[in-house]
């Protein structure tokens, strides 16, 4: 089993995100705000012109680093002595599934904005459907993983004994 230093990985991913933001700040298209007020209804805003390909793919990178950073933080919380006690492979699989969903949203968005008659799935445009229905469903796998693996990977019998020992020591000292 390989010991991984998740602290270092979170640090590197955070710097990566800062670099993406720095690049975004010099892209003229991103400007400072996006969208504009509706011509007829002042309380409603419109998005206006779709994002260009360059912005979309920079955003894709931002999204991928963000998702990977989330998994590094999850791993930091789950790891003991930098080992994931059976959670490593499931984390990687779920991370890949979420990254694939994210990529699907980005790719289908580009098709959506160029299609005059876009496909609706469950009443929403395809990229929005992926975002509303698939993204949370895949994220839910992390919740299920926590529930299923809790006694084996999060709080084992051995962990409980150590915790009880600490409580007993506290009782004795007080």
């Amino acid at each position: 089993m390989v010991a991984i230093k998740f602290g270092k990985l979170i640090f590197i991913a955070s710097i990566g995100l800062a670099v993406v933001i720095a690049i975004a700040s010099v892209m003229p298209e991103l400007g400072l705000t996006r969208g504009h007020a509706h011509l007829q209804f002042s309380t409603i805003r419109q998005g206006g012109v779709p994002h260009s390909s360059a912005v979309i793919w920079l955003g894709w990178v931002f999204g991928i680093i963000t998702l990977i950073l989330f998994f590094f933080v999850l791993s930091l919380g789950a790891a003991r002595q930098n080992r994931l006690r059976g959670l490593g492979k499931p984390f990687v699989i779920i991370c890949v599934l979420i990254a694939a969903t994210w990529t699907g949203i980005v790719v289908t968005y580009q098709a959506y904005v160029s299609d005059p008659d876009p496909v609706l799935l469950f009443g929403f445009p395809l990229p929005t459907s992926l975002m509303i229905f698939v993204f949370p469903a895949v994220s839910l796998l992390v919740t299920i993983l926590f529930v299923v693996r809790y006694p084996k990977s999060v709080l084992t019998e051995e962990d409980l004994e150590k915790y009880q020992q600490l409580l007993d020591d506290k009782e004795k000292s007080s």
Partner: protein, 497 residues
């Protein structure tokens, strides 16, 4: 039935408030010390703790601001909702079990207690308590403002008290909140949260059905109307663009693990083994209540764009307008009670952690602990409520920007100050006290500076995201540049489990 709409709404809200008072009286008899007052005696079952956790997360912002955001910005704000399973999972894996263990082993009664023990530093305690206090004042003032606004509209519309002033409404609604928080402390908070969370879930499901029935063709009909007006608003980034949406995703998903009113619930459960089921309760509850956020916002946008409803006076009027015009009177009554429930369930948690910061943590960090903590905690709760109400009134009559300024000390500051310090720090022994102090101070300065000077960021990226990233980088950078810290043996032992 329609002619009884306003009396039904008024009765529902009155009944709900009476219920809160009754819970306060019940809890008062069971609150005998500070552990009861701040930690509900650490005897909570997982259902009660889980519902309290999700209902504290879904505040008035979710029930009023959420539909308003969807109405005004299209699909953009859904990025706050779609990773809720992830948000709670990050909380559960990083802080859930560990906070409960620290509470047991170190007998702590607040989050800054644990921070002080972890870093062996009273400065980290004082700074984290200060960040919490500032965030609490801002958040609480906005919640009180929302409560008074809704109550005033109900009283005036029902003709029960047509001249009800804003001051009277803030006094009435805050008094109920303060009553059960002062008498029953956290015990009253979590049991009112149980009632409040249940009402919110019922409201979420019923409104979802009503909203999609209000427009011909349901979800597809709504999408067609909105897309015909502006395809981008129904796309995945809505009207604010991809980078702004991603910044919300980052801040709200990772930031949940730094919200003291949410994570402190983990310290209150009785049996640590039952924590296994915490995410099932929180994710289910939050997802059901979020149905209201999405459905009302989309339905009202479509109704206004298609000319079936006049334009709203403001985006935040989306939920009240929908309930007044498209919901059955009984449903409207339930949802208005749910609205108060959403606001109060968050406010009571803030009052409690604010009182702990004011009467327990700040005095301890100054080496001036108070003698009768339970009595001081009750007084502290009243002081914070009065201060927040004063801010709310000043903002309403004199300076609307004040609340917004204090509000930024809410989610964004908690996230930037406490994610590195708590979510990372409790799992990473290399983190130092200086790094924690730097992260907290940076979060306060950056969040406040970006808001005060209205500094625009590229692509509409949220200021809280920049603050969170900066504090994370500083925390790791300073820690790596320093010698590894010495950690108390008991703290180290808990971190090893």
């Amino acid at each position: 039935m329609e002619s009884f709409r306003d009396p039904i709404i008024l009765s529902s809200v009155a009944l709900y408030m009476l219920l809160c008072i009754a819970v306060g009286i019940w809890a008062m008899r069971r609150t005998t010390n500070t552990r009861d007052f701040f930690m509900a005696g650490r005897h909570l079952g997982i259902i009660v703790a889980g519902i309290a956790m999700f209902s504290s997360t879904m505040s008035g912002f979710g029930f009023v601001g959420g539909p308003g955001l969807v109405y005004a910005l299209g699909a953009s704000s859904l990025w706050i909702l779609i990773t809720v399973p992830f948000s709670f999972a990050i909380c559960d894996f990083t802080v859930g079990k560990r906070l409960r263990m620290f509470a047991g082993v170190l007998d702590t009664i607040s989050l800054p207690d644990i921070i002080a023990a972890r870093y062996d530093s009273e400065a980290t305690r004082g700074l984290s308590a200060l960040a919490i206090l500032l965030g609490v004042l801002g958040y609480l003032a906005t919640q009180m403002l929302a409560m008074a606004t809704v109550l005033q509209s109900i009283l005036i519309n029902s003709n029960f008290w047509p001249e009800a002033s804003f001051v009277a409404c803030i006094v009435i609604s805050s008094s109920v909140l303060v009553f059960y928080c002062v008498t029953g402390g956290m015990l009253a908070s979590v049991y009112t949260d149980l009632v409040q969370g249940s009402i919110m879930m019922v409201a979420g499901v019923l409104v979802f059905i009503a909203a999609f029935s209000a427009v011909d063709g349901g979800a597809a009909g709504i999408s067609s109307i909105i897309m015909a007006d502006d395809p981008e608003s129904m796309g995945p980034w809505g009207t604010i663009g991809m980078f702004a949406c991603l910044s919300w995703l980052f801040m709200f998903t990772l930031g949940t693990a730094g919200q003291p009113h949410i994570v402190s619930k983990a310290m209150m459960i009785e049996d640590i083994r039952s924590y296994r089921f915490m995410p099932l309760v929180t994710v289910t509850g939050y997802t059901i209540t979020a149905l209201l956020w999405v459905s009302i916002g989309l339905a009202m946008r479509a109704l206004v764009l298609s000319g079936q409803h006049p334009e709203l006076a403001s985006a935040d009027a989306a939920a009240p307008e929908f309930l007044q015009h498209y919901a059955h009177p009984i449903l409207a009554g339930i949802v208005f009670a749910g609205l108060f429930a959403a606001i109060m369930s968050t406010s009571d948690a803030f009052l409690n952690i604010g009182a702990a910061a004011l009467t327990h943590d700040i005095p301890k960090s100054l080496k001036r602990p108070v003698s009768n903590e339970l009595h001081s905690a009750r007084i502290g709760t009243i002081v914070i409520a009065v201060a927040a109400a004063a801010f709310a009134l000043y903002s309403h009559y004199e300076n609307a920007r004040l609340i917004a300024l204090l509000g930024v000390f809410g989610w964004g500051t908690f996230a930037a100050a406490l994610v590195p310090t708590v979510a990372v720090g409790l799992n990473w022994k290399r983190g130092t006290a200086n790094a924690a102090c730097a992260a907290i101070v940076t979060s306060l300065i950056l969040n406040f500076t970006i808001e005060v000077f209205d500094i625009p960021l590229p692509g509409g990226i949220h200021g809280g995201t920049v603050a969170l990233l900066a504090s994370l980088i500083l925390y790791f950078g300073i820690s790596y540049a320093s010698k590894p810290p010495k950690i108390d043996s008991r703290v180290s032992a808990v971190m090893d489990i």
